[in-house]
Symmetry: C2
Subunit: 544 residues, 2 copies
C-alpha cells in the first residue's frame, strides 16, 4: 500500500474531482511477496471522438502498486477498487463499461433475490424490443423533455437510411403502453403486472463505472391498474421490496421517501426513491418506483372497459433498480483495503488459504483444506480454496481482503495436528477479527461459519447505519442547511419551498432535495426556507 | 376449430409461403362455450417504412376462430399458435418481437438449464457493451463481409452526430477480442472462458417470430486457449452441451455435425451445428459452436507469452443458442390443437380443471382441487389450478391443450366422493390419453404424475425421432438427392463436392448442406455429385 504511483492522469470515466485517479489492473505474477499489481492507465479521451484510443500492443509497465487510500481520494479509491478487484473495465466506446465476472456475480446475486420477490408479488418476466420509433418518445410531453437530450439514435439499418429514426431504449414506458393497448380490453385484463431484465442506453456526458454509464443493465417493472389507489399501492409495494432488499441483502440502510416535483421522473405523478449514503457522504439514488397516474395511458390511449362498460384510462406504475446498485455496495462498505461485500451478495463468502513451508507439509494441509471446502460447500456456503503455489499466504490474505470476501479460513501444519483452523473477519481488521483454534469438525465449523456470516451481515448494516445517522443534521434554517452541506453532511429540515426555492438551494449549495422521507418527525414544523407551516421534513444532500 | 376465418392477409412477419396466415389474438371473454378468440390481423408493412402502422384505437372484431390446422398451412399454424398461446407479439418496429410471459418462461427454462451447465464446464458470466466501434467490425476480413449487410448503426448520440458510427452488436467476437488483449498476458491467464446473456441485432429482411427477428436474445460463449487442440475440445464440448440439452430437456433429436466451408460462421475455421427437423420437415439450425482458430486473435493482436516466454496468438471459440430455439420447440412438437411443451421446459406442467354443475358442489370440488395443487407444488411439480368460473370446463380443456400443458387433472363431485381424479395426457389426444380413478392420496398421486411427466418427455423425443428418421433418405446420386428434396425430405449422401457444387444444389433444389453429421456410416463411399471417393456423408435439406 502507498507504494510508488504513476503521475496523475484523468481517466475517461473520471469526474472533475478525481484528478489523481488511475484505473489499475492486477495481473497474475509469480513469486511476488507483497500484493502488487500491473498498472493500466487510461488516457483521457479527446472530447471529439466517442471511441477511446486503441490499446497499444505493448503492455504497461509492472509497478508495485496499492489502492489509493479512501480517505485520500474517494474517487480514485473507487476506480482502483473496481479495477483491482476485477469488477469492471472500460469499454472501447466512451462511457461504456465491461462488467467482469466478479462484478457480474454481484449483479447476478441481486437478480436472484429480486426475481423471486417480483414473482412472489405477482409479476411475470417478459421482453420488449429495444428499438422504439422516435415518434413514441414524443407522445408524452414531459417524457420527451426529460429524455430527448440523452437519446442514442439508430438511423441506418441493413445498409439503408431509415425513414423513421429509432431510439435505443432509455426506458420502456412508451413501447410498453403501445403493447398494453393491444392486451388490455376490460377490467378483467387488469392488473397487468410485468417486469423485464434488460440493457438501457442514456447518452450521459459525465460517466463513472456502475454509477452512470452510457449503457447499463437493469430491471424495469411496468404495471397497469383499474384504480389510482391500486396503482399507488403497487408503487409503494415495490419501493418497499427495494428497501427490504437494501437492508437485508445489501446491508445498505437506505432512506425511502418521495421525490419533490422537481426531481420526479419525466412522465410520473409521483416518484418514490431509496436514497443511500455513500462512504464520502454523497447521496446515491439507488432505486425508484413511479406512480405514473394516467400520463402514459392518456398519451397512448391505454383504456379498459370497467364493470359498467365505461371506457377508462388505466393507472400505471414503473420501477427500476440497475447495475448502479453495485456501485452503491462498493461505496457503502469498502475501506482502504478494498472491497467489502455483504455475505448475502458475495459470490465467495469464505476463502480458505492453506499455509505450508516444507514440501512434506503441503499434502496434509491441502487435504485438510480441501475437505473443509467440501464440508462448507455441502452446507450451502459459497467457498473458494486458493491452493495456488505461486503466491505467498500473505499475498493471498491481502488479495482476498481487497476482493471483499467476508471470511477467511487459514490452515497450516499445526492446525492440521490440532484439528482446528484460524478464522478472520474481513470487516474487523487485524488481530481483533481473528479467532484461533476453531475445531474443523463439521458439527462445530459449519454453524460457526454461518453464525459469523450472519454477524458480518448485521455488522455491516449497523456500521453503515451509524455512519449515516452521524452524518445527517437536523436543520431549521437555510443557514443551518448551508452549514451542514458545506461540511459534506446531509441536511434534514421542514420544507414547503417552491420549485424555485429548491433550485436556489441547488445553485447556492450544490445540494438537491433527495426526498421527503416516509419516516417523519411528529409535531408542528416551519419551513426552513420560507418559515411557513410545513407538514414534512425533506433531506438535502450532494449526490451522484 | 375450422370456424370462420378472415380473408387472407400477409402479416408483416409472414414469409412468402404463408399467404393465408393471420396472427390471432385471444381475449378474455365471458361465458363463451367453445374456445374462441379475438382476431387481430396485421397488415403488411409497406417496404419503405421500418415502423409498422400504428394501432387503431378501435379493437378488431371478435371472431369465432381456431388455430389453422398444421397440415393445411404450417406457417399460418405457427403464427396462430404464437398468438393464441400468448407466446409473442409483433413489436412496433418491423421485424421486432415482444416476448410475452408464457413465451419468455420457455426461454427462462432454457436459461436455467444452460446457465448451470456453462458454470459446471468452467465458464463465468459477464457483460460486454452492445455498442461496437464500426472500425472493429472491419478488422477481421470475412467477419465484416458476413455481417456488414445486417448492421444497425447508431449515428447520433446525445443530440450530436457521432464521429465514428457505432454498430449495435450483431455478435461480440470483435469487442471480446479488444478486451481479451487487455486481460491476457501469459499462459497462466489461459484458458479464459466466459459467457454473456444478451440481446443482439441483425437487420434481417425476412423475419419470423422467434426464428429470425431483428433483435433476439441469446447467450454467447467466448473462450481463449493456449493450443489449437484445447480450442477444438472446447468447441466440441459446447456442441455436446447443446446436443444433450436438445435431447434431454427439449426432446428435440437434433443431428450434431460440422458445417461445410460455405456455411461456416464468418470468421471461424470450423463451425459445429445442431440441426433439428421441424414439423414441416424443414431444417432449423438450432445452435452453433465455432472453432475460431487464430482469425480474431491475429486481427486484434490477442497474444500471450507461453511457458518459454514466446509470444503467441490465442486459439479461440465462440458458441451460441438463442430465442430461435423457442421457435424450434413449437415447430417440433406442436399439433393441430396447438402448442405441446416438453415437461422439463414447461412453466406449467400440470393444470387442474375443477368441474361442478351445482353451486353446492363448487366448494368441495375447489377444496379438493386446491389441496391437490398444494401437494403437487410441494413435490416440486409446476402446477396451476384454473378455478375461474367464467369459462366452462370444456373451454378450459381446449385452452390448456392449446397452451401445450403436458398433463391435465380433472376433478368433479364424483371424484371427490371416490377420492380420485382423472388424468389426461396432452400428447395422446382423446380417450386413449385419459386415465380414470387415480387416487388423490399424495403417496399415489405424486409418483404417478412424476412418472407420467417422464413418460411424456420420452414419448415426445421418440415421436420426433421416428418422424425425423422416416424423413431422411439415404441417397447415392444427385438425382436421388433432387427426388428426396422435392418430396420435402432430407437427403443424406456421400459428399466431397466443391463449393460450386454446393451452390448448384442450392440453386437447383433450394436445399443447403446442413452438416456433415458426427455419426457416419462405415465403409467406402462415392460422392453423390462427383463420383470421387468420399470420407463422409452430408445432409442436405431446405431450411429456415
Amino acid at each position: 500500500m502507498g507504494a510508488l504511483r504513476l503521475p496523475s492522469l484523468t481517466s475517461i470515466f473520471a469526474i472533475s474531482s478525481s484528478r489523481s485517479s488511475v484505473f489499475l489492473r492486477r495481473s497474475k505474477q509469480l513469486h511476488v511477496r507483497k500484493f502488487t499489481a500491473t498498472t493500466k492507465v487510461f488516457a483521457q479521451s479527446t472530447p471529439a471522438t466517442e471511441v477511446a484510443p486503441a490499446e497499444s500492443n505493448q503492455k504497461p509497465p509492472v509497478q508495485e502498486q496499492g489502492i489509493t487510500p479512501r480517505s485520500q481520494d474517494f474517487n480514485a479509491w473507487y476506480l482502483d477498487v473496481i479495477s483491482m478487484a476485477e469488477l469492471a473495465d472500460y469499454g472501447p466506446v466512451r462511457g461504456t463499461m465491461v462488467i467482469r465476472p466478479y462484478g457480474y456475480a454481484i449483479w447476478e446475486a441481486i437478480q436472484d433475490y429480486l426475481n423471486v420477490k417480483f414473482k412472489e408479488t405477482g409479476h411475470s418476466n417478459m421482453y420488449f424490443p429495444q428499438f422504439i420509433p422516435y415518434s413514441f418518445i414524443e407522445k408524452e410531453a414531459s417524457h420527451v423533455e426529460g429524455f430527448s437530450p440523452e437519446l442514442a439514435l439508430v438511423t441506418v439499418g441493413g445498409g439503408k437510411e431509415l425513414e423513421e429514426k429509432l431510439v435505443v431504449r432509455p426506458t420502456s414506458e412508451t413501447i410498453v403502453n403501445h403493447m398494453f393497448t393491444q392486451w388490455i380490453h376490460s377490467y378483467r385484463d387488469l392488473p397487468l403486472m410485468i417486469n423485464q431484465w434488460a440493457n438501457v442506453t442514456r447518452w450521459e456526458m459525465r460517466t463513472k463505472p456502475f454509477i452512470r454509464t452510457l449503457e447499463f443493465l437493469w430491471q424495469e417493472g411496468h404495471t397497469a391498474h383499474a384504480t389510482p389507489e391500486e396503482a399507488e399501492r403497487e408503487a409503494m409495494q415495490m419501493i418497499d421490496v427495494y428497501t427490504k432488499f437494501s437492508y437485508e441483502e445489501a446491508a445498505i440502510p437506505v432512506i425511502p421517501g418521495r421525490k419533490s416535483r422537481v426531481e420526479t421522473f419525466a412522465g410520473a405523478d409521483r416518484t418514490y426513491t431509496i436514497e443511500a449514503m455513500m462512504g464520502d457522504r454523497k447521496a446515491l439514488q439507488a432505486g425508484t418506483s413511479h406512480n405514473l397516474g394516467q400520463n402514459f395511458s392518456r398519451a397512448f390511449g391505454t383504456q379498459f372497459a370497467d364493470e359498467n362498460g365505461q371506457r377508462q384510462h388505466v393507472w400505471q406504475t414503473s420501477w427500476a433498480i440497475s447495475t448502479r446498485f453495485v456501485g452503491g455496495i462498493i461505496m457503502t462498505h469498502g475501506d482502504d483495503a478494498g472491497l467489502m461485500l455483504p455475505p448475502r451478495l458475495a459470490s465467495i463468502q469464505v476463502v480458505i488459504v492453506p499455509i505450508w513451508k516444507k514440501a512434506n507439509e503441503k499434502n496434509e494441509v491441502l487435504d485438510a483444506a480441501s475437505s473443509i471446502k467440501d464440508v462448507l460447500h455441502t452446507a450451502g456456503i459459497k467457498v473458494k480454496l486458493d491452493e495456488s503455489d505461486q503466491r505467498t499466504p500473505g499475498w493471498k490474505f491481502n488479495f482476498w481482503e481487497m476482493k471483499g470476501v467476508p471470511l477467511r479460513i487459514e490452515i497450516g501444519p499445526r492446525d492440521v495436528s490440532s484439528r482446528s483452523v484460524v478464522i478472520s473477519r474481513r470487516d474487523i481488521p487485524g488481530k481483533p477479527g481473528k479467532v484461533f483454534g476453531i475445531s474443523m469438525e463439521p458439527s462445530v465449523l459449519v454453524p460457526y461459519v454461518k453464525e459469523k456470516l450472519d454477524e458480518i451481515q448485521l455488522s455491516l448494516l449497523d456500521k453503515a447505519k451509524s455512519f449515516r445517522d452521524s452524518n445527517i443534521v437536523d436543520v431549521s434554517s437555510y443557514d443551518e442547511l448551508k452549514e451542514a452541506i458545506s461540511q459534506g453532511k446531509w441536511a434534514r429540515g421542514p420544507w414547503v419551498g417552491s420549485d424555485e426555492d429548491e433550485q436556489t438551494v441547488k445553485e447556492e449549495t450544490g445540494a438537491t432535495l433527495r426526498c421527503f422521507p416516509f419516516e417523519q418527525p411528529q409535531g408542528p414544523k416551519k419551513c426552513l426556507m420560507t418559515g411557513s407551516p410545513a407538514d414534512e421534513v425533506a433531506i438535502f444532500a450532494k449526490s451522484y
